[in-house]
Amino acid sequence: MGSLTPDFRFGNFVGSIVWLVFVVLALVTLLILPIIFFVLFYVPLPEVDGEVLTPYLFFSMMVDPSRTLPVVQFFIHTDLFRAAIFPGFGFAALIAAATIFIERKLLAKMQLRVGPLYAGKVEGIFQLLADGLKLLTKEIIVPSGSDKPIFWLAPIMFVSTAAAVVALIPVADGWVVADVSVGLIAAFAILGFFPLIALLFSWSSNSKYPFIGGLRALHQMIAFEIPFFLSALPVVILSSSLNLTEIARSQNLFMNIFILPINAFVFFISSLAELERIPFDLPEAESEIVAGWLTETTGMLYGLIQLGSYLKLYALAGLFVVLFLGGWSGPQIFPPELIPGAHDSNLPLLQMLALDGLYNPVTVNSIFWFMIKTIIVILLMLIIRGINPRIRIDILLHTGWYKLIVLTFINLFIVLMLIYGGVIGPGGLISIR
């Protein structure tokens, strides 16, 4: 009985469980059932296969394997699913979380440390969960002289802006939340919000370290925005479209990085600066200005900004893949059917296991290759953090304004020469379409 408290009584324990059951039942009868009835009365139900989806139909479909898959398919193709779960926020947040853990572990291994070790017994795999719980339950301390509305709103703005960039990234043909005809410019326009948010948040903290960090973030992001924008220009010229899906589709013969290696390099460096990652993490330089513009963040405000910056990391890696690495193109490695012969057989359970009708080999293949490429780019960004020191601010600004902008033009002229020489482009020797 060592682990139990000394005044443990079995009767009290049973009583507490009975009380819990009572509270749950009371909540269900008083709150949840009325809400369900209200929803059933007033909300028009969607149609699946020509029938109105009533709860009875829904349950019968869930029980019958042959009718479950169409329902799942219907929900997968709704806009809400796209925005909230698959190519949208949930998926990106999952990748962001995985990136945080892998980054800590990878950097630790690179620097001969052990990294997170205790949470979850095996190599600390639950460290992220523990950190998340800690951030959620910590008190949020707002500095007394701070500008309260901006201080509360800026982290939320940061996450939502990052999610807006994520929404523009296509992961496969047709699998994108917002298929905008000017997607590339939209991505750059939305990325232009980040310096504003960092500046406002650092100002609202009313403290000197955040403000210095915010000014640094502003300088850095504006210095690197121009090479960032310019390095994507030859890609647009090559694919003659601003739509990200079209840009990815136009690279089915060869990836853009083979024609535009310098631009890919500039884009990569600029996205590191845009993400404030080492070697460009001057806004958060912890050995100089505590934590830069994040100094006054506590609890979930810090968690939100962290989530936002890793969402942004995924979005920029995805953008790099779409612009330079050919998006989702890659050799077909998935079989046409998960279990061969499942479609012709009359066994409903087998069909359900084979995801018959739901499984699309081309889409799965596209998503697989997109994920592989994105993960490689993300790992590249992480490795650079492990092996580089932080650079000085004047070198950073000098690099951004003088070197990268000039570098972007080299490839631009090469592409123009190739197009006017009739080698690539519409009507050229190697036609993209």
């Binding site: 500008d147 901006i150 905008v180 005809s181 000017v182 410019i185 939209a186 750059f188 326009a189 939305i190 232009g192 919000f193 310096p195 504003l196 500046l199 406002l200 100002w203 502003l218 504006i222 925005e225 003659s240 479209s241 601003l242 004047d394 070198i395 000098h398």
Partner: protein
Amino acid sequence: MVDSVFIGLSIITVGSAILSLESRELLYGGIALAISMLGIAGYFIILDAPFVAMFQIAVYVGAVAVLIIFTVMLVRAPNTVTKKETRKRKIAGILLGLGFLVMAGSILGNSTVTQLKFNENAPVFDVQAIGKGLLTYYSPVLIVLALTLASAVIGALALARREDIEERNEPTN
């Protein structure tokens, strides 16, 4: 659907524009201006011109608003706006504004603007057409604009350059 979006955008745009004028805190005024510019970008999206909308966001919210807010932060003085208005002035201002609105409304109502109809055969939005137009028919305008901007930048550099600190600021690397 479009009407409700339009009304919502109008409320956001006009409301934040009024807020940016009336706000005593200069910084909030700057933020309200940025939101107002976002609302204008929303109008462009409704008008089926996403290209212009994106540049509106990139230029006005991403650059101009940042510049304004940055300047406000640098020169932050709490009482730059002295309260001079009296009751009489307020009433006179409101009456003047209403009079102007009525006049402008009557002129607009009698003009041919009210007889305009939606063009069903309007060309579909096309970025490539914009690019072609900019490089062929409108190329002189583009070149003149580019020269104007270049001269503005060179002028700004010439004004901001200080020769007395040039020598101390030796090669950066």
